[in-house]
């Protein structure tokens, strides 16, 4: 299975809006790659550029060994699953799945067999003669997947395919999608604005902002060592604590005290942003060096998210259920020094 090689792709829309700014990205064979970012960051434009629906202003695009930069969408051998699934309402499920094969002039008999096969593998057997309007959202989503599979593409392109499903079904479809991609071992590019979806699905992922890629890596790498403040703030279902301070002898000094740091190359006196995930902040008795009063507690199910006021700053910590303090309690705060990250306050990049 071929990968996708993107070399300094730029996309400018009429009117001078730069959606993609000289992007370089290498997506490996058989990889599940997620493009993550807020709306308007260019992730969908990048996906549409790979599909060929948007011609790139400059740069080159390879799928496997083939240079597809100038090819029309139909000759790139990619299959796209749209956010609204784009199922044709006047065709049955079978005709929908077989449509790409019809375009490729496969004989009716064979394309119906292929459609049955693809539909069967997604448990659509009983629905083959229905029309999309008679299907539930989850079933429509599976028809769209079956249609993509029936093309036997080199690359799957997913444009937020789960965002039209309700929350419970989305979790189910997510696991199913990951297993399916693993079984087919076809390269997949997956666009989403939901960081938990990207973390759950991707082998590797890229976080985009304003037409640029801010970090590429495995979900674990992006979660544990975000390369800049944007990624730090974007990834994680509970936002990372980001506290501005100055590097001192024993840690990072800020208005509410001193935050512990394991070791750092940052010079003394440097202005930094201290980042630590709430999961790595513990709470203890009020005798600790860092102590403050509890402002808010939020129930997350098995855990509580506790916001503690430290001078003018706030720090959030997660504690197991049953151990949560009461609002107004004085508690000690113990950030895990080994998990702390320091960012340059001027440009927001991670300091080693």
């Amino acid at each position: 299975m071929p990968g996708v090689e993107i070399a300094s792709i730029t996309k400018e829309f009429a009117g001078g809006v730069t959606a993609l700014d000289a992007l370089d990205l290498s997506i490996e064979d058989g990889e599940f790659f997620a493009l993550l970012g807020p709306s308007g960051c260019g992730k969908t434009t990048l996906l549409r550029t790979i599909a060929g629906l948007e011609p790139a202003t400059s740069g080159s695009l390879h799928i496997g060994e083939r240079d597809v930069t100038a090819l029309p969408p139909g000759e790139r051998n990619v299959a796209m699953v749209f956010q609204d699934y784009a199922l044709y309402p006047h065709m049955t499920v079978r005709e929908n799945i077989a449509y790409p094969l019809k375009v490729k002039k496969v004989a009716r008999q064979q394309r119906n067999e292929e459609a049955e096969g693809a539909g069967g593998s997604l448990s659509l057997d009983a629905l083959m003669d229905r029309r999309p309007g008679q299907l539930s959202g989850g079933q429509q989503q599976r028809v769209a997947l079956a249609r993509a599979i029936a093309c036997r593409p080199d690359v799957f392109l997913f444009d937020e395919p789960l965002s039209n499903l309700d929350a419970r079904l989305r979790l189910e479809a997510r696991g199913f999608l990951k297993q399916l991609q693993h079984d087919l071992a076809t390269t997949a590019v997956y666009v989403t604005h939901d960081q938990s979806e990207a973390l759950a699905l991707a082998d590797r992922m890229a976080v985009m902002e304003l037409g640029e890629i801010r970090q590429v890596g495995t979900p674990a790498a992006l979660f544990h060592r975000p390369a800049n403040l944007f990624v730090a703030g974007f990834i994680g279902s509970t936002p990372m604590n980001l506290i501005t301070g100055v590097v001192g002898a024993s840690g990072v000094a800020f208005a509410g005290g001193v935050l512990p740091v394991a070791e750092t190359s940052a010079p003394h006196g440097a202005d930094v942003v201290y980042g630590i995930r709430p999961e790595y902040v513990g709470l203890a008795g009020p005798g600790e060096t860092l102590a403050g009063s509890v402002k808010v507690t939020e129930n997350l199910g098995a855990q509580f998210l506790v916001t503690v006021e430290l001078g003018e700053a706030q720090i959030r910590a997660t504690v197991p259920e049953g151990e949560e303090p009461q609002i107004g309690d004085r508690v000690g705060v113990m950030p895990d020094a080994r998990r702390a990250l320091l960012y340059d306050a001027a440009n927001g990049t991670l300091l080693a």
Partner: protein, 272 residues
């Protein structure tokens, strides 16, 4: 008992209102079969077909219905062939002044075939040397129907997500294939609505063919009806009633056919 009285009163008054509107229809059903019809609806005694016999003795009757069909076919064809691509382009391509253009269309749609424009329209068709020709009438009527048709068809096309065509293109379909396989079938009920609406408008249009055609042999049915007078100068109700009934049949057949074949509905998409 009170709800019962209430319902009787309601049904009674609703029947009265219904009867008021049904009376002209009743006249249309009874009068053609009456030996000497008046302007009031009365059950003919005995019913007779002699009015139709007299009607068909006039060779212009069938010819005028043929002329009407010809005009309807020409105008509907022209409106669909020109209107559908125009609506598609207006729906899919953004260009400066598009909205202004659309509002102009809506404004013009009520002006062109109206009585106000009949003099310039006559001069235009005269200048084109198309007076007393079906092409002239067809062009004038199609010109009158097109603005509103384009406007309505554009709305139909707007409701087709672009992703339909885009996904077809990703699967390798050409622009033409995507239009033929995806856009056309989805927008077909919209085309059927426009076709029937145009047909009804053309079938019933009196003014434009009356002004633009000279030869009596070219008169469509709506114009011919105007010529049914007795020797005494009174409207000939025997012929008018029989012809009126005949005149409604093609439109009814068209409506039933299109509704059966295409259905005045729109394929439901997905929740969004």
């Amino acid at each position: 008992m009170k709800p019962f009285v209430h319902r009787v009163l309601f049904a009674g008054s609703a029947s009265l209102v219904g009867a008021f509107f049904a009376l002209p229809m009743l006249w249309l059903v009874f009068a053609p079969f009456d030996e000497s019809p008046s302007l009031s609806a009365a059950v003919p005694r005995p019913p007779t077909l002699s009015n139709f016999g007299d009607l068909f003795d006039n060779p212009q009757v069938l010819r005028s219905l043929g002329n009407s069909l010809l005009l309807v076919g020409g105008v509907v064809g022209l409106v669909l062939i020109v209107g559908a691509p125009a609506a598609y382009v207006l729906s899919r391509i953004r260009f400066p002044g598009r909205n202004l253009f659309l509002y102009m269309l809506l404004l013009l749609s009520s002006v062109i075939t109206g009585a106000a424009a009949i003099v310039p329209l006559y001069l235009l068709i005269f200048g084109l040397n198309l007076i007393d020709s079906f092409s002239g009438v067809t062009l004038a009527l199609a010109g009158g129907m097109l603005p509103a048709s384009i406007f309505i068809l554009k709305d139909f096309t707007d409701s087709i997500p672009r992703s339909y065509e885009e996904s077809a293109r990703v699967f390798g379909a050409s622009t033409f294939q995507a239009l033929r396989d995806v856009v056309f079938p989805v927008v077909r009920p919209g085309l059927a609505v426009i076709a029937v609406w145009t047909a009804v408008q053309v079938w019933g249009n009196f003014l434009v063919p009356f002004i633009l055609l000279r030869t009596p042999d070219k008169s469509p049915a709506a114009v011919l009806m105007y010529s049914f007078y007795t020797e005494g100068g009174q409207p000939n109700l025997r012929l008018i009633s029989a012809f009126s009934l005949l005149y409604t049949v093609p439109i009814l057949v068209l409506y039933i056919f299109v509704n059966r074949r295409y259905g005045f509905r729109f394929h439901g998409g997905i929740k969004r």
